[in-house]
């Protein structure tokens, strides 16, 4: 059995090496199987988030959601290259995809967003504040980076071999705390994979109005190696992340993965002022679409069955979440300070 981990910058066509055995975060798999697994993760995230937007319009979702529709490749490609037993993930306000891909906790995510007791955090955190085992998310831009660095310090100190992956967007690059953290992460050689998902917009504001220079290159001045990738092919993102994670584990120093991506859905719900033509062109180039076409060509029946399964499991979890109850207020009151 030949193991292939990473390799040089993954190239287009890597996915055609069908029968090689690859080491994934969750164990070994044939490259062929990995491809189906990655697609399944992506389509599951897409179905969940489409459903969340529908639930919102039907008045069944209280609060807000920030979907990663169009960006699934990033979260799935990276988290599937991590080892969930020892690696740690930090994510941001747009974290459903990272959470779902890393943990597989479909019911916990949906119930949490619907504010129910069965949610990952009992409905207290909601969409932007998720936790399960080794993943943490928070809704303050940039602020998660030093928290992630602290985790990386701890894993290094405890010699667990764990790597901490932290996702942030181009918009967050306006926050000063990111640069404080890049400096310390490099200075102290912390085992961190920094993933910048550059979707070109900070909420409604195009990048050109937000940033000077090339934001991905800012890490260079901290001597942090940078890998840039257009995040269209999930297998390539996976392979690149796997290589970087292996290097970070061995070298105990941070690296930055700059992923160029595009958010197809609005920032949160209906708030989209982007040029319809621009949007239409990107919908045409939806990464999920060409991954799907590739799998249709390989085994249309299997694909149909997979998608059917995913739709059913998502619907099942939504039904269960809708019939679940919110946490009893009396239980929450234990969190009130006494004195």
């Amino acid at each position: 059995m030949q193991k292939i981990v990473g390799g040089a910058i993954a190239r287009k066509g890597a996915t055609s090496l069908r029968n090689e055995i690859v080491e994934t975060g969750a164990g070994v798999a044939s490259r062929e199987e990995l491809k189906w697994r990655l697609y399944r993760k992506m389509v599951q995230i897409r179905r969940v988030e489409e459903s969340l937007l529908q639930l919102f319009s039907r008045g069944l979702l209280f609060g807000t959601v920030h979907t990663c529709i169009g960006q699934e490749v990033c979260g799935v490609g990276v988290t599937q290259a991590l080892d969930p037993s020892r690696d740690v993930v930090w994510s941001n306000h747009r974290g459903h995809g990272h959470y779902l891909s890393f943990t597989g906790d479909l019911q916990g995510l949906i119930s949490e967003i619907l504010g129910k007791a069965g949610g990952a955090c009992g409905g207290i955190g909601g969409s932007q504040h998720l936790h399960n085992h080794n993943i943490y998310t928070n809704g303050i831009l940039g602020g998660i980076l030093p928290c992630a660095a602290g985790c990386a310090f701890a894993e290094k100190y405890k010699e667990t071999g764990g790597v901490v992956a932290v996702f942030f967007g181009d918009g967050a690059m306006g926050e000063g705390i990111i640069y404080e953290t890049l400096n310390i992460a490099s200075l102290w050689r912390l085992p961190m994979l920094l993933i910048m998902e550059d979707n070109g917009y900070a909420q409604s504001t195009p990048k050109a109005f937000e940033h000077s220079g090339d934001i991905s290159r800012r890490a260079e001045s901290f001597s942090i190696p940078i890998t840039r990738l257009v995040a269209n092919e999930v297998a390539i993102v996976w392979e690149t992340a796997a290589r970087m994670i292996k290097e970070i584990r061995e070298d105990q120093r941070p690296q930055l993965l700059a992923l160029e991506t595009y958010r197809l859905a609005p920032h949160s719900k209906g708030d989209d002022n982007r040029d319809p033509q621009e949007l239409a062109a990107h919908w045409e180039a939806d990464p999920l679409k060409h991954h799907r076409e590739e799998l249709v060509a390989e085994d249309g029946n299997r694909l149909e069955q997979l998608e059917q399964e995913v739709s059913e499991e998502v619907q099942h979890c939504i039904d269960a979440a809708i019939s679940d109850k919110p946490m009893e207020t009396a239980r929450f009151l234990k969190y009130v300070d006494q004195g």
Partner: protein
């Protein structure tokens, strides 16, 4: 033993007896040993666990939080209390939120040590007592060591506390000799509040009912031995109640002492409006309506910035004379 020696000794003991304590902050590398020398000698002896850092208070606070989520008990030194405003988002929107928003699945045992306080002519941005900024944040604790119980023991308790703790030291207390037992004309007792933190009760009389109760914390306690012994000569019985956990407040314990005296003076070094004394007064009003014979009197810094000039600084910050005067006026 001085306040500073006691803190330094406890930090050393924590490093010797645990493996999960990490100490970090700006300029704490030996031989410098920190701006106020609280960590002196520690980096030399524990170089892997005592780390000098870049000047990045916000990120350092997040680092502490991340460490604590993964099983460590970090102690972060912020060189001046004034700089804790730079830690604010990490305390407010990260460290203090995680335990509850993740439904008790994590704990965040961080300790942020910092010296507050004026009296050294450092001017508007290096002299403040701004712990009030943290009083309104749920699920964190604010602890202020005074001279009547060992600050080092209190620090150990803060480090072992599973909640985030802001540990407010006072610059002027560092060289002060502790008074953990009775001093000349002053009786010191230490009790434990419901959270297990000590409350010092200091009296200038040995029997009978107090005339006035005084509530204060931290650096202000440097004034108490002399105030209390002077007022004893005037046969004024004073009970001073000094909680070390200053947020959340052990109000029941404090309320009993206030009720026994019937007259209350509250003293703090920070500005008075929206402060510790304001909250405590409100709580006493709720607990003790009709049981106080005089309006509550608050002593605090004037509501302005702290000027550098010695004369002006003295005019702005609360003094021993201010407190003594207020106590005397309560019985006029």
């Amino acid at each position: 033993m001085t306040y500073l020696e006691n803190l330094n000794q406890s930090l050393r003991e924590l490093l010797e007896t645990t493996t999960d304590v990490i100490i970090f902050g700006e300029d704490i590398m030996d031989p410098y040993g920190g701006a106020f020398k609280v960590t002196r000698g520690l980096q030399r002896d524990f170089p892997q666990r005592v780390l000098t850092t870049p000047i990045s208070e916000a990120a350092l606070t997040g680092l502490a939080t991340g460490m604590s989520l993964r099983g460590l008990r970090p102690i972060l030194e912020i060189m001046f209390g004034d700089f804790t405003s730079l830690c604010m988002d990490q305390i407010l929107n990260h460290a203090s939120k995680f335990r509850i928003m993740y439904n008790d699945q994590v704990k965040v045992p961080i300790t942020i040590r910092t010296p507050m306080g004026g009296g050294r002519g450092y001017g508007p941005t290096h002299s403040q007592s701004i712990e009030k900024l943290f009083f309104g944040i749920p699920d964190i604790r604010v602890v202020a060591p005074c001279i009547f119980c060992e600050p080092g023991r209190l620090l150990t308790q803060a480090v072992l506390d599973d909640r985030p703790v802001v540990f407010v030291e006072h610059k002027l207390l560092y060289p002060v000799e502790l008074m953990t037992a009775d001093g000349p004309g002053v009786h010191v007792e230490n009790h434990l509040d419901i959270s297990g933190y000590p409350i010092s009760v200091v009296r200038n009389y040995s029997s009978g009912k107090p005339d006035v109760s005084l509530f204060t914390y931290g650096g202000m306690t440097r004034f108490l031995p002399s105030i209390l012994s002077r007022l004893a000569q005037e046969e004024l019985k004073i009970v001073a109640c000094v909680p070390s956990l200053i947020k959340p407040l052990p109000t029941d314990f404090m309320g009993d002492i206030a009720a026994a005296a019937g007259r209350v003076v509250i003293a703090e070094e920070g500005t008075g409006q929206w402060g510790w004394g304001a909250e405590l007064s409100a709580r006493f009003q709720e607990l003790l309506f009709n049981k106080l014979s005089k309006p509550i009197r608050r002593i605090a810094a004037l509501q302005t910035i702290i000027p550098a000039s010695k004369t002006l600084e003295l005019a702005v910050l609360p003094s021993a004379e201010n407190i003594e005067q207020a106590l005397l006026e309560m019985v006029e």
